[in-house]
Subunit: 303 residues, 4 copies
């Protein structure tokens, strides 16, 4: 007779989820957080081979940070006060089978990869410069910022409804990021500072840099949101992350309809308004989920 | 014995493709073209029922217009000099099972449709107004503009590599649209003027209006393009139309790499540059193919 | 003052749609139709270069065939009595940037293509043989079969709601294909005989062969269908063609729910039944739209 | 001056991953495992409201089970010896905004959901019967089976490269499931027994039942696989799980090419063979990733 294995009470997950917080913050508090770059600062020279240096563990985050008083059903708001570089160079790379214009682990083909390559940029006088053509202004933002997901211990490479690796350029100084609180203390984390990035993050790797980011935390008690929201001085924005990309678009715009309904709009008028005056751009077209950002200017929404 | 049917030479298509041109233009010539609205001006009142009034034939175009000297392998350029309204109102509608936040003919579900609805806007002093909340500035562009496709007689509702129903707000006054010439004379057409539209054209129907559009035609002889391009005073843009949406993104950015290679860039430097400084927005998320627009500012491309 | 172009009545399409029928058949009539292969029999030797020989015009069809009495709103049924080869070899090829495991015109990347290649198979004793490993049984079906689309003059390469290039192995002898009638006379066409093909048509090109296909035509008057249906001795099947592939799946299964409702089922019971006993396979994952086939055995449906 | 938060060494994840194994097995050992149903046996009556009873935690698994000697880079094989029901009824439900023919959390729309509904089936004499129409044979398989993922603590609802909630009917008695070993001991788990299910698992919920499943574990030392494989007496199969569905198809067929290369095939001959003789069906079209199964019969592969 075979041995029998029975369960001692239900196990919904065969994994546990949380490590201990590295710090605690209070609502209203402003703190400065230091972040490593997406490659743990291991890619430093033009001849480095990312495929040899990098392992499976990428995109290190600073966190989790416990927010006092944060309870499931609240919304955590994070004002990005400033982002300062902590070194004078940034790096972008072409990694085999990763990026927007190549086959990937998911969009599998039998083709050879495009060439591996490292691009080092010097940061000086507000510009990142690799050569005369590859020279771009300092436009920093946090590629990754989120709270603990409800169900899964997602990789730091994954953007989803908890935020995460959205690679959305509007996660930048001056803007307020709204994140769902799904566990007591929220378990906030951030990392992956980008010295600049185009919409889509086309090759998969922006201008990666180490940074000091200064944030002010606050809570909206008793208000839950399903997906991240961003408020700039002039705009309301929502972020949807999914595949295929049209699902990310559907999520982003549905969430913006919901936000407008929160503000007193009729749902069908909100749908009509966004048709005529909404904006929709691609944050990333390279991560495990694509992130799209829907927007409406406050002058059209707050009336 | 059964009757036999044999082919008298190969028939690649069981359909023919062209109607006679309605006009001929010369390269360098400027003409004014009158266009009907997307519903052939049949939806005029709030209580109209689009599902009863509209048939399968939608989005009437003005054309085809024969461009003298245009040969396959050339590029047709169309400068949009101006767009003037020819009536003082515009219309948007919710059509059952059509739009961005509903199931559709393609994304089929067993759910009931959202409510049918007609939104009439008055055009006055540069604003389109339905009510105090639904009030948007006059930002006209041509929803549909294209040349004859190479192989198919596509519906006027379809955007593809010939242009067509792209619903891209950058097809606007001041910009130059580059279209492939696939048949002698190019067979240009346009229509579907929008008094304004957000990115994505969320509910599927923008601010539809009749218009007089003034265009200047020209040819780039011996230069072929695979997909439409748009040049604004400050930007270079490419349009990809496909499903799923990530394929439209891949097309748009690959075509922008190709344009930069045309301008003397190394292919991999172009890929890197667009990663850091490109823009990517959704023109439509509702048509038979989704249209995405990739951009680079001339200050970063023309160096 | 610029010249003005006005429209002489609405032009919904800048193209016309139909060529003259090559034959007329009556309901109940059985005819034999000869079809060329997908390459117009131009690829005949292992060293042929498809990329040099083939142009844009591919997949020649025999038709259109006018079906007497067929009116829009009817359904055309086509019983496939037999398929006989009209030569003793078949051909498959790898075409650059075409197929299931390569980037394509739509899923664009910057990678090099996979190698171009021609595979010639001898047909003998019911087997197609290229070498000892590449040896497959004769399992013929028509890759392309359809009626005139309602709105567009689609390429013979496109599968859609009119049938067309579905590449579905169940379009085979013994089965009855139901096609929508969208224009008077239906304008039936067929071609693209496959001596055999796996599900998905992975590399994009099956065992292409010329053939004589014997068909019996009939009409279901006053019964319209939205997408093709297939009836085998034991099964009811529906075909959905769309991108992304999940949309093709949604169409196929929704249409099968509709067919069961036609047969007297409650819609929700049909949804539940297909959950537990339906089948769903990929016909093609390579054409301009993907074609998926949903099935239910008659023993579960006809009760 | 603000307080500063620095990282004490790199944290790639803000979550930890593993709970303690509930049992240990040796290679070659056969054990019987008891599994709960996907709803933790909470849905038992026709009038139960899933939306009220069910929380976020679904699909409980039995595990993790530590396999002695399993090291990263090995392959775990699991022969399914038998599946026996441990109760005499099964349950399927329609859950709001979940399933194949409805909008969902990802494919968001503004539509109302389809009706919520519970279907109870009695198991008797090898048939599951709800009523005269909804009556299906006992065809049991395990909806969920996998090993620890490399990077993430995925929910039991997610199918991915570690196996998991694939909902593939070929995970059935008589077949051998090959799973990657990513952590020492493999951390095997299984659950979600289905008394039967169609391809696609259309409404999202199969015939859910509690079960005793008898498995024989073994290891292939030093052989790593990227995605799950299944061996039946007659077929070799691979499973890809991704969105959009075409990515799942690409993964499944690429992995089958790789398996054939493992067996000595030339890569291009394998691609050609699968084109002509492969099979490709949809396991699920409802989970967080879609799972597709590619197949080849051994008589065509083992030569």
């Amino acid at each position: 007779m075979v041995r029998e294995i029975r369960q001692q009470g239900p196990h919904h997950y065969v994994f546990s989820r949380y490590v201990d917080p590295i710090a605690t913050v209070k609502p209203g508090e402003t703190v400065a957080i230091y972040t490593d770059d997406a490659f743990e600062s291991q890619i430093t020279r033009p001849n480095d081979k990312p495929s040899e240096i990098l392992g499976a563990y990428l995109n290190p985050q600073t966190g989790p940070i416990f927010v006092e008083g944060a309870e499931p059903g609240d919304t955590l708001t994070v004002k990005i006060e400033s982002i300062e570089p902590t070194r004078d160079w940034a790096v972008s790379v072409f990694v085999p089978y990763f990026g927007g214009l190549t086959s990937t682990k998911f969009t599998r083909t039998l083709q050879d990869p495009i060439p591996e390559k490292v691009w080092i940029y010097q940061l000086k006088d507000g510009w990142l410069e690799h050569n005369a053509r590859l020279r771009f202004p300092w436009r920093p933002f946090m590629g990754t910022m989120g709270t603990a997901p409800e169900l899964e211990a997602l990789s730091a490479l994954t953007p989803f409804d908890h935020g995460g690796n959205m690679d959305v350029p509007d996660v930048k100084p001056g803007n307020i990021i709204h994140l769902p609180v799904r566990v007591p203390g929220a378990y906030f984390f951030t990392g992956d500072c980008h010295a600049g990035q185009g919409q889509g993050e086309l090759c998969g790797v922006a201008l990666e840099i180490t940074a000091k980011v200064t944030l002010t935390f606050d809570l909206i008690k008793g208000k839950s949101i399903d997906w991240p929201r961003i408020e700039s001085p002039d705009e309301l924005m929502t972020v949807g992350s999914a595949r295929p990309m049209e699902d990310a678009a559907r999520i982003a715009y549905t969430e913006l309809v919901e936000w407008m309904v929160d503000l007193g709009w009729d749902r069908w008028e909100a749908y009509e308004a966004l048709t005529q005056i909404g904006d929709l751009y691609v944050g990333n077209m390279v991560d495990t989920y694509y992130s799209l950002v829907a927007k409406i200017r406050k002058e059209y929404a707050l009336i």
